[in-house]
């Protein structure tokens, strides 16, 4: 009986010491190198995530085999119609973009951007920190601070930490994050506060004309879409109006992003 009691006390003491050591290690890591082992871990996890993504694509493709021929024909026709509309829109946007670049060059500003395509290894919903992991790193020229785009011209975040062949990206919509943006056709300067999941809030004086559907732009020589205004509200007694806007990108379905390499 004595032995059991002594053993219990020994286990308790070891547990206590273990917890104390753990707390000290966490404090030291937080103060000095919070990502010290991240690079090594990604060497193991990157192939696992890539295999998971490949399996997911294969399974989705296999499920498609069970769809009826009629539904596939209908979807094919709808996609063809959508494609011809998008092709025309893309052509006109390409013309506008070329004209925009020429006008900027006339005023002595050269716009040269280089982007690298990257797979999304781990989507934001996996992370408590509203971050996601992409499959390029120092090997492709990415550095901390590089902007990350989705669907071509929609800005969604910035690289926080970069490793050999992976990088961690923080979303601009991470709760509490503040970003300078421009709102509406008048390009009114404002501060967007992240609310999580691609949602943002802006407070502007009541008299400022902002409507639902207005674009919110990330300031820069080459304007990037930040979001679309979804709701504008002002209390009668309030001097400010609350504007809620959302990124047009569905963060839960992110598969590919582009990193703006400076």
């Amino acid at each position: 009986m004595n032995y059991l009691l002594q053993r219990k006390r020994l286990i308790k003491r070891r547990l206590g010491i273990g917890i104390a050591v753990f707390i000290i290690v966490v404090v030291i890591l937080q103060a000095s190198a919070p990502n010290v082992l991240s690079g090594a871990l990604f060497i193991v996890t990157k192939p696992v995530w890539e295999a998971r993504n490949a399996a997911s694509v294969y399974i989705k493709g296999s499920i498609e085999m069970f769809r009826s021929k009629q539904s596939l024909v209908r979807e094919n026709q709808a996609l063809k119609r959508e494609r011809s509309v998008l092709k025309r829109t893309l052509l006109s946007q390409s013309e506008i973009r070329t004209e925009n670049i020429k006008l900027k060059e006339m005023f002595g500003r050269r716009v040269s951007e280089s982007t690298v395509l990257s797979a999304v290894l781990s989507r934001p919903n996996k992370s408590l920190y509203d971050t996601f992991v992409i499959g390029i790193g120092l090997d492709r020229g990415a550095v901390a601070g590089n902007l990350v785009l989705a669907s071509g011209n929609i800005i969604i975040g910035r690289i926080d930490a970069v490793y050999r062949s992976t990088a961690t990206v923080t979303l601009f919509s991470t709760p509490g994050t503040e970003n300078a943006v421009m709102v509406g056709p008048e390009r009114i300067s404002a501060t967007a506060i992240g609310k999580g999941g691609g949602n943002f809030e802006i407070k502007l004086p009541r008299g400022v004309d902002v409507s639902e559907g207005d674009a919110v732009i990330f300031p820069g020589i080459s304007a990037k879409v930040f979001g679309i205004v979804e709701w504008v509200h002002a209390e009668p007694a309030d001097a400010l109006q609350t504007i809620l806007f959302k990124s047009p990108v569905n963060m839960l379905e992110l598969q590919w992003v582009e990193v703006l390499i400076k």
């Binding site: 547990l15 273990g18 917890i19 753990f22 707390i23 966490v26 890591l29 937080q30 919070p34 990502n35 010290v36 082992l37 991240s38 871990l41 990604f42 996890t45 696992v48 995530w49 998971r52 781990s122 919903n125 996996k126 992370s127 408590l128 920190y129 509203d130 971050t131 992991v133 926080d160 930490a161 961690t168 923080t170 991470t174 709760p175 509490g176 994050t177």
Partner: protein, 87 residues
Amino acid sequence: MRNRILFNLLLIVSIFFFPWWVVLIVGALFLLAFIAPEVLILGLIADFLYSASIPNFFGFQFVFSLTFLIFLVTAIYMRKHMSLYSP
């Protein structure tokens, strides 16, 4: 012993493949069933994989680890004081 190994594997799989709230639930259930200090190491792994300095957590980058530590201490306390765990 086998159940403990299964719980460890489930927690590792959750960290890699499932949303963060699933990881916390699995961790909590694990600690309800066992006093498992190895959960702290798995919490560290989750933090190394996903953490960033964000305003929501005042720049603290070991939220998973801290949460599992709180769960562990709570589990130890519960085992000591609750009749559910008495032999």
